[in-house]
């Protein structure tokens, strides 16, 4: 018999499944009172853990969550309306200053300026969406990716 006591990792492995344990280690544990006690303690611990009562939900989860799903939809519409009103108000209030900003720019240069502005806004929106998705993946640990 190997006289050197086995380490905690081997004791846990033995307590989990004796058959998957190294024969020399198993032999030592079976013949060494100190290691046998330590392994038995682990075995008792594992069997007690397996027999713990099932976790019971403390509240009616369906009742807790389902009304909030509808609230969320309502919230999304309100948010969309606020954004739309803000954009419309900005154009209404400051749209008149646009001609001062652009001066006498007409025709192709005007369309070019508008196109560049639209592309920049579009790229920013795409970047925001990517960041949002990355945040979602972080929340869900990448499983939804």
């Amino acid at each position: 018999m190997n006289t050197e006591h086995v380490n905690e990792e081997a004791l846990q492995a033995y307590a989990m499944d004796r058959r998957s344990c190294d024969a020399v280690v198993a032999d030592h544990i079976e013949h060494c009172p100190a290691c046998k006690i330590a392994a038995d303690n682990y075995r008792l611990l594992f069997s007690l853990a397996a027999d713990l009562p099932d976790a019971a939900p403390e509240f009616d989860t369906v009742q807790l969550v389902m009304p909030k799903l509808n609230e969320r939809k309502w919230f999304d519409w309100v948010l969309a309306a606020i954004v739309a009103v803000t954009v419309a108000a900005t154009f209404f209030l400051f749209g008149a200053y646009g001609k001062y900003l652009l001066g006498n720019v007409r025709g192709l240069p005007l369309y070019l300026a508008l196109a560049v502005t639209a592309v920049v806004i579009l790229l920013q929106v795409i970047k925001m969406m990517k960041n949002f998705r990355r945040s979602c993946n972080l929340i869900t640990g990448g499983l939804s990716a």
Partner: protein
């Protein structure tokens, strides 16, 4: 057809129904997963009021991101993953220690079984588990009580296999020491 394939098929049907606007399908998802979510949340978060807010938050996140679920894992594992990370974020905001050691090292003092006879064993082990850091107790319970595989726990916690095994090893060792120390001090 294996159980896993059947489970995946059910998950797929439920998710598709929710995405088509069937809210009852989502309540079926809640009913099917709430016990596992409760196990994680109850182990990680102490206050009932906080747990209530977190459970609500977990299912709202699951509902919002359901379209992104790729069926790479079981739906319950995916929702457990959201539950775990939501709890971790909550605990980090509260600056609560997630892992570590907070027990004294004691020598083995004979098989605990005899000493614990006649006592409320599940109460003793439950109290001892509650003394573990949140990550340790969650991993321990998922493995030993819920009988999830290491790979499923990796999916839930987003940790590599080696880290999960290391946390599980430390959780078992720490738990044994907690029980032994209580047993020695209080003559259980």
């Amino acid at each position: 057809m294996s159980y896993n394939e059947l489970q995946h098929q059910t998950d797929r049907q439920l998710v598709e129904r929710v995405l088509q606007g069937d809210r009852h399908a989502f309540s079926a998802i809640i009913t099917g997963t709430e016990r596992l979510v409760a196990q994680i949340v109850q182990r990680m978060v102490f206050r009932t009021e906080d747990r209530k807010d977190l459970v609500q938050d977990i299912y709202l996140k699951a509902f919002r991101h359901l379209g992104g679920f790729r069926f790479d894992a079981k739906l319950s594992t995916w929702i457990a993953n959201i539950a775990y990370h939501t709890c971790i974020n909550f605990l980090e905001k509260k600056k609560i220690l997630l892992t570590g050691e907070n027990y004294e090292h004691l020598p083995e003092t004979g098989a605990a079984e005899q000493s614990l006879q006649g006592k409320e064993l599940s109460g003793i082990i439950n109290a001892a588990i509650d003394e573990l850091p949140p990550v340790y107790k969650t991993i321990f319970v998922l493995f030993h009580k819920e009988e999830l595989s290491i790979s499923e726990i990796c999916n839930i916690t987003s940790m590599p296999e080696g880290t999960v095994k290391s946390h599980l090893f430390r959780a078992r060792k720490q738990l044994k020491q907690i029980i032994l120390s209580r047993h020695k001090k209080d003559s259980l």
